[in-house]
């Protein structure tokens, strides 16, 4: 019997590559070109220029909002990973018969609309929200706390809530190959609970944790909806500026330059974190096969 002809990997991946080229790379390149053109009203025109980038970096408001984006992105990513890690660990090693149900609930939480979750936090953190009402009812405060809402804190809390399920799943998957026997062996060799975490769990979970961190960081720092609804006067972020450039002022060239400046910032952050992994040699840590 004749063996069926072998299909090369290039052929198999061609549709995905084509899709990526058409729907991602090509628009990205187009906007890269836009960012060096001269802005016209809802259009772009020659000549080529670097003025858009100059304006991006010389505008004070961009620096202010850029700092906000960086801080909110880092905090959201950090807290997401810090909260998700023990949850993923518990799911992997201690959840027992609850594992299926908890995983289902985590996945089910994706069904809740992004905006519903943001508004839920407004209901919780507002002047007449559940937290203020609760604290008042038990006599801890006389006046509602105003600092809970409409600031960076509120934006960060909502973003952590939104991205936490993703991070738990990523870390749970990252822990999956780490058999309980690893930890038992470490215990047999005299490692205490903290040492087992520090020398076994963390090095092995470092790579997925960093991936999850970057995932949350990029999406949080670039978000432009949450800051508008929860950020108030002190929680504005840079993503809103990109939206304003494209839709508000119709300055596509400036908007593209701003978006690419943000992209460059993300690449720098990624490079720094990758460098950190390399310097600590955590990038070399692999599960034994």
């Amino acid at each position: 019997m004749k063996a069926p002809p072998r299909v090369g990997p290039l052929v198999l991946t061609a549709p995905a590559v084509a899709g990526l080229l058409v729907f991602f790379i090509a628009p990205l390149l187009a906007f890269a070109v836009y960012s060096f053109l001269t802005g016209s009203l809802y259009d772009v025109k020659a000549p080529l220029t670097v003025e858009n980038y100059k304006e991006v970096f010389e505008t004070d408001i961009n620096r202010t909002l850029g700092r906000n984006s960086l801080v909110v992105g880092l905090l959201a990513a950090l807290f997401s990973v810090l909260i998700a890690l023990p949850m993923a660990y518990w799911l992997r090693y201690s959840a027992g018969r609850w594992r299926g149900l908890v995983l289902f609930l985590i996945v089910a939480s994706f069904l809740a609309s992004y905006l519903v979750r943001i508004f839920a936090w407004r209901t919780m953190l507002g002047r007449n929200g559940a937290i203020n009402r609760g604290l008042e009812s038990i006599g801890l405060i006389d006046e509602p706390l105003d600092f809970l809402l409409y600031n960076r804190f509120a934006v960060t809390v909502a973003l952590v809530h939104i991205f936490l399920p993703y991070v738990v799943l990523v870390l749970y998957a990252g822990l999956a190959p780490l058999q309980p026997s690893y930890l038992e062996t470490a215990q047999d060799l005299g490692a205490g609970r903290v040492q087992r975490w520090r020398r076994v769990v963390l090095p092995l979970v470092a790579a997925p944790a960093v991936s999850a961190f970057l995932f949350v960081f990029v999406l949080s720092a670039a978000d432009y909806v949450t800051p508008q609804l929860l950020g108030g006067t002190s929680g504005g972020m840079l993503g809103v500026q990109v939206q304003v450039a494209f839709i508000g002022t119709g300055d596509f060239a400036y908007g593209a330059a701003l978006a690419f400046a943000m992209l460059a910032g993300f690449v720098v952050c990624y490079a720094l974190i990758a460098l950190g992994l390399r310097l600590t040699k955590l990038d070399k840590v692999r599960f034994a096969t």
């Binding site: 009203l41 004070d60 809402l149 609804l229 839709i247 300055d251």
Partner: protein, 400 residues
Amino acid sequence: MGYEEWARWQTSRRRFLQRAGLVTLTVGAGPTLLAACGDDDDGESASTATQGPAKAPAASGRVDFLSWEGYDIPDPLKSWKSENGVTVKATYIGNHDEIQTKLKAGGAGAGYDIITYYQGYKPLYQELDILEPLDEQKLPNLKNLFPYFASKEGSFWIDPDGTRTGVPWTWGSIGITIDTRRVKSMPSSWLDLLEPQFKGRVAMPDDPVGSFTLAAHVEGFDPSKTTKADGEKVFDLLSRMAAQTTGVSPSFGDATTKMTAGDADICWQGWAAMNQFAADAGVDSFETEVPKEGSFSFCDAYALPAGADNVDSALSWMNESLVPKVNAEAAVVLVGGVTVEAAVADLPKNIAGLYRYDELDSLLERSPFYNNPPVESDEFVTFEEVQKRWQEIKAEAGSA
């Protein structure tokens, strides 16, 4: 998540209604209004007078609609669609600027047959060659309009040469909106909102041009002709007002929600319809009044975008929107004003009470229709400058 969901939320009907004013209020300056009212020559187009009775064209097929959700007035137009076998493919926006963005990005023939614009955008849309002339011979119901809305005043809907570019069908005015549960007496001036008692209690919709228009009006300037030097006074007022907020609301709906939730007490650039929205949410303590300085009004018009291919159906739609019953039903759905005089009688009391139709001239004199700031000018504050300064004002408000 992200933009699509955001846009969907922004344009869900009720929220659209709550927010419509936000974007609709981005207006600019109109000239003397009273002079226009009652000018019979302006009310009837030359073409109507010379070419015999106007007649609406037959409508058929699919109409591609681009504007706010709700502005396709599905229920009021139900009979018209059914009788003519018309189907509507609607594309809803989350921000007025999306209209020109979509039309320019899609180019002529972007596929839309009917859009709306509000009057302040007329110069920009002409600059962008978005608006096609409308054949008044196919719009017999134009005769139903209030004299002001039928006039050429401001060239908002009719060019100085008589070319019609829009059919005004809904409008409103803004004022100070308060929640009387916490604000016991209505302030008499916009500047009262700067008082220390309102620190952190002011709601402010994220409407750069609307806010600029209002602040310019309060300072005594025409927002479409505010010099760069005078503009600084306007921006200063906006900075001080923004510092009174805990944050600018992305929409009128959000500003209403903020007030009903107790996170704000009073609204800069409020809107009478907010009273109704709050009532719908179970809070009947909202009141809106135009203070002593007056305010500004906004009016949305149906228009034909360049490249429209179902022109007759779009014109028939526009004509139908001026049938008194349809115009009144649209006002009910949108919690807005009617442009058709005979429609007032069909309005329920709560909607009719939003505006004093018996004193329309006086109302529009105190709260005129304005044009937006110009697209380009060395002398006056421009549209782009307003947008950019607004972002700075929002960012700086947190450190004020």
